[in-house]
């Protein structure tokens, strides 16, 4: 940043750049860690998340721009608030409890709203947040209010909400919650899913004004 450039015959003094925070690309993961996820499902989920962070860390722009937050449910816990991949704490999620899906979504949407306020008050520009819900069961709490919040958020373009069903997930309920068609994970292909997600985040985080964010086709991990 301190070298000089030569313009024609005249040496030019050192040009400096405005110190400017990178635009942020927020992504929230709502992860079902209820009792039914015990055993291989939770192991594969943990491995997938680890690989996801490693992918983001290895990309020079994504590591500065993509911010991930993790909420696990049952019970609903904020595992990690929004932060860039270099602050990954490598949590090991444990399967326990029931499936308070409605509460997880409400808390997640609130977390996204707060983060956007922080960006705005700090003059940081940002991309439309993505929320991914991953569940293997059916909700054990009231989810209707959460569903209306999802619809409201999609209508106002406050975020984009995606639902992924694992194994015996109640796809009928997911369809009522998510405006976008829910997808079903093939077997336990969490790693393939997170590989796809990190690729999508990488391309979103370098998109330019006017670019439409198009997710790559969910091949390799979803059942059509």
């Amino acid at each position: 940043m301190n070298d000089t450039i030569l313009l024609d015959q005249q040496p030019l003094g050192p040009v400096t750049f405005a110190e400017n925070p990178e635009p942020r690309c927020p992504c929230l993961l709502l992860l079902d860690t209820s009792g039914s996820m015990a055993g291989r499902p939770i192991e594969e989920l943990n491995a997938g998340i680890r690989a996801f962070y490693e992918e983001l860390q290895s990309d020079s722009l994504a590591v500065k721009r993509v911010e991930v937050a993790l909420i696990s449910f049952g019970p609903v816990r904020i595992i990690s608030n929004f932060s860039t991949a270099d602050f990954f704490l490598d949590p090991t999620l444990v399967a326990e409890g029931d499936t308070p899906l409605g509460e997880a979504i409400t808390m997640g949407i609130d977390l996204v709203r707060k983060r956007k306020e922080e960006y705005r008050s700090n003059g940081i520009s940002f991309y439309r947040p993505w929320i991914f819900l991953i569940t293997d069961g059916s909700p054990t709490d009231k989810w209707q209010h959460a569903a209306s919040m999802v619809r409201e958020g999609e209508n106002t373009k406050s975020f984009a909400f995606f639902a992924i069903g694992v194994q015996n997930a109640d796809m009928k309920v997911l369809r009522q919650i998510s405006v976008r068609e829910p997808l079903r994970l093939q077997g336990l292909k969490f790693r393939e899913f997170f590989q796809w997600l990190s690729n999508s985040m990488k391309s979103a985080s370098r998109s330019n004004p006017g670019d439409k964010i198009l997710l790559a086709p969910p091949s390799g991990w979803s059942e059509i």
Binding site: I5, L6, D8, Q9, N20, F126, N208, P209, G210, D211
Partner: protein, 254 residues
Amino acid sequence: MSWKYTASSVTGRTHLDRNEPGQDYCRAGAVQVSDREFFIGLVADGAGSTRCGGEGARTACDIAYESIMKTIRVAGEIHPITDADVRDWVCSARGAIVAQAAASGAPVREYACTLIGSVIGNGHAICFQIGDGAIVMKERDEYQVVFWPDQGEYANTTFFVTDESFLKHLEISRKDFLPEEVALFTDGLQNLVLSFSKKAAHDGFFHPLFAAVRAHSGNRLLDLSAQLDGFLSRSDVNERTDDDKTLVLAVHVP
């Protein structure tokens, strides 16, 4: 009095990687009306998701440039130019893009682009802008941003000349002084040269570049584009942005 200016547009890494052409375009020139010289600068950025945004940007600059020249030749001054004249410049650029799209059978939105312009001379200046990117002018020894970049809610959204509601996002500003230095640039540079937390232009970027333009021995269009291209393609620039980058610099010489 006269103007010295230079203009450069380089293709960003995103487009180079995909083997696509750049989608920025610019025009800069000085027009003599009786004993006065007016500077006209224009930059436009074709929308990233479009097939023909770059062509839209070129048409927007070329047509707006012609329209501005006509107005200046008739008016002979900046101050009689009305907001309606500025809207006419933008409407003529948009009209040409709509015709271009119709001729190629593509929807107008495939030609989406921003447009920023500045016309300066004889103690006055007029600036206009649709979308992001910015104009920076020296005013009372300070670099001022004329319009803060008009972004939508999200970092990858902005407004275009081709939008239905384009006139709603057209900003017009007049200055009753002669800015000695002016820069116009597209959004590929805005994160490097504007401080978003301070909402201000970064002096450390503009001062040395204007000094070099001022010190150049040439007149009117300076032969600096090779050096400026090199500068805009430098690795420390590319580390901060992978978008197309366009910069017009003009300096008034009394």
